[in-house]
Symmetry: C2
């Protein structure tokens, strides 16, 4: 039986998992999401957690991606080094049994630095394999750890992680800026001003404190501070991402709330963006992998 | 009775307080330190907390500096704007009674930005008034929020805060880098390499994640990660600080563990440093203020 006769795709992250039943036509026929992330399970608990997925969706082969393949997951699927295409992911699938396959992450070493990703590769390479993005493009994938990936011929040649989402969360939950960050973040004028500032004159750890001083001294509005701080962080991220060999058009893949903010910051550099939904890219990518098993 | 006939100086911060009995000769004759910081007291509790200081050290006039003069402290002492010298601090002392005086903080507005300090001004302006540093100098004052202050004629004309210490603490306590940051930070080769990198090619929110990737991929040693990450943060800070009109010699005032790290990072730019102990500068500064009341 071919995997494309029907299978279950799981995007299994650190704090949650999303499972999808994919039917013969390649469409998602059923799905669920819960908080049984990798960190909530010991490695001995994975077989039961996998059985539960089948019980809820159907007794089908399972294609698993994300942190489930890390050293804190079920079985480690070693990183595939760049340059990596979707065929390289398929070759390096790790098979707990005939009926399960774990997608490996991707690593980059070069340029005096090292980087890793696990989970985003399905969306990035899948969108390219499915023809949704230019096979020669710069892709931005916002999240806890934003990834900037450079594709050539549909293969990932280089990527860089910027821990923007995590820094925002840390500042919001635990820092002296916490009370300023409880407001809503929007791609408004304050956001764009901060993004421009960060793209062209970056002093992030100083500018962050400056927001607090500016509010204390009555020079800026407290209700705009969350958008401004988000603009500083995302603008810094965009400056770093666009320092790689850049393109006139940038593809942004991810959750709509985040892709909207990144698209607004990238627009401040005069570049255009194509925005794609991350969940749909995951489904496209996992289907491309299933077709090749 | 003049204040210099004997008084008590208190450096009263957010999380702790240090109190010193200063005798007629201007020397510290007794001292204590505890965790009764400003955030542990309601504003109604300050009179008792002040009485307790007198009970422990002597029934003398009190000169108070630090967050005790903030809107979360005993009585707010509004910021004195730059340019500010020690005489401006004295003029703006806030007097809860004849026998107590609270030193105000300093603010900077200009250059499209705003900044505030509260506590460091005693050390910075005090060291200048006491002749311990060149009245025309660039001073670095590491701490939770590092301050870079530009003095002309012994008055502070400009300063900038960089929240390096707080970022380090956040990353250590709450981030994905937490386990890498439990080690000892030293101004070793890893620290200096990271500092050079951050001073000349800054991509902080990306470089931070790169440390984790590098350890995961076996490209760098876990036991060097804390020093390397500290080097990235302090190097970024030094890059920002030295972007102000700079000097060949930089004065670094603060706790010896921190001033050593900053001096090592500044040395990577070819500049010399003069390192002064922060506690001694506080005592020098508070005495200079007492002389002028």
């Amino acid at each position: 039986m071919a995997w494309t006769d029907g299978f279950i795709a799981v995007d299994w992250g650190t704090t949650n998992r999303r499972a999808y039943r994919i039917d013969k036509s390649g469409k998602c026929a059923d799905r669920f999401e819960d908080d049984k992330g990798v960190l909530s399970l010991s490695s001995a608990e994975f077989p039961d957690a996998v059985a539960e997925i089948r019980k809820r969706l159907d007794d089908l082969p399972l294609l698993l991606a994300g942190m489930v393949g890390s050293n804190r997951g079920w079985i480690e699927a070693p990183y595939v080094p760049c340059p990596a295409g979707i065929d390289d992911l398929v070759t390096a699938l790790v098979r707990p049994s005939e009926r399960e396959a774990i997608v490996p992450g991707v690593s980059f070493i070069g340029d005096g630095r090292a980087d890793v990703m696990r989970g985003e590769e399905v969306q990035l390479l899948g969108a390219a394999a499915a023809g949704k993005i230019d096979p020669d493009s710069l892709v931005c994938h916002p999240g806890t750890h934003n990834k900037w990936a450079l594709l050539h011929g549909g293969r990932m040649h280089d990527f860089r992680t910027v821990m923007t989402g995590e820094l925002f969360s840390l500042l919001k939950a635990h820092s002296i800026l916490g009370d300023l960050l409880q407001g809503v973040v929007e791609p408004n004028a304050a956001f764009k001003q901060a993004a421009r500032h960060a793209i062209y004159d970056e002093k992030l750890p100083s500018d962050l404190f400056g927001v607090r001083a500016s509010v204390l001294l009555g020079r800026s509005k407290k209700e705009e501070a969350a958008s401004y701080i988000s603009g500083l962080l995302i603008g810094t991220d965009v400056r770093i991402g666009l320092a790689t060999p850049s393109r006139a058009v940038i593809t942004v893949i991810g959750r709509p709330d985040l892709t909207g903010l990144y698209a607004a910051a990238i627009a401040e550099t005069g570049r255009e963006t194509i925005v794609l939904d991350g969940e749909q890219c995951f489904l496209d990518g996992i289907l491309e992998i299933a077709k090749r098993i």
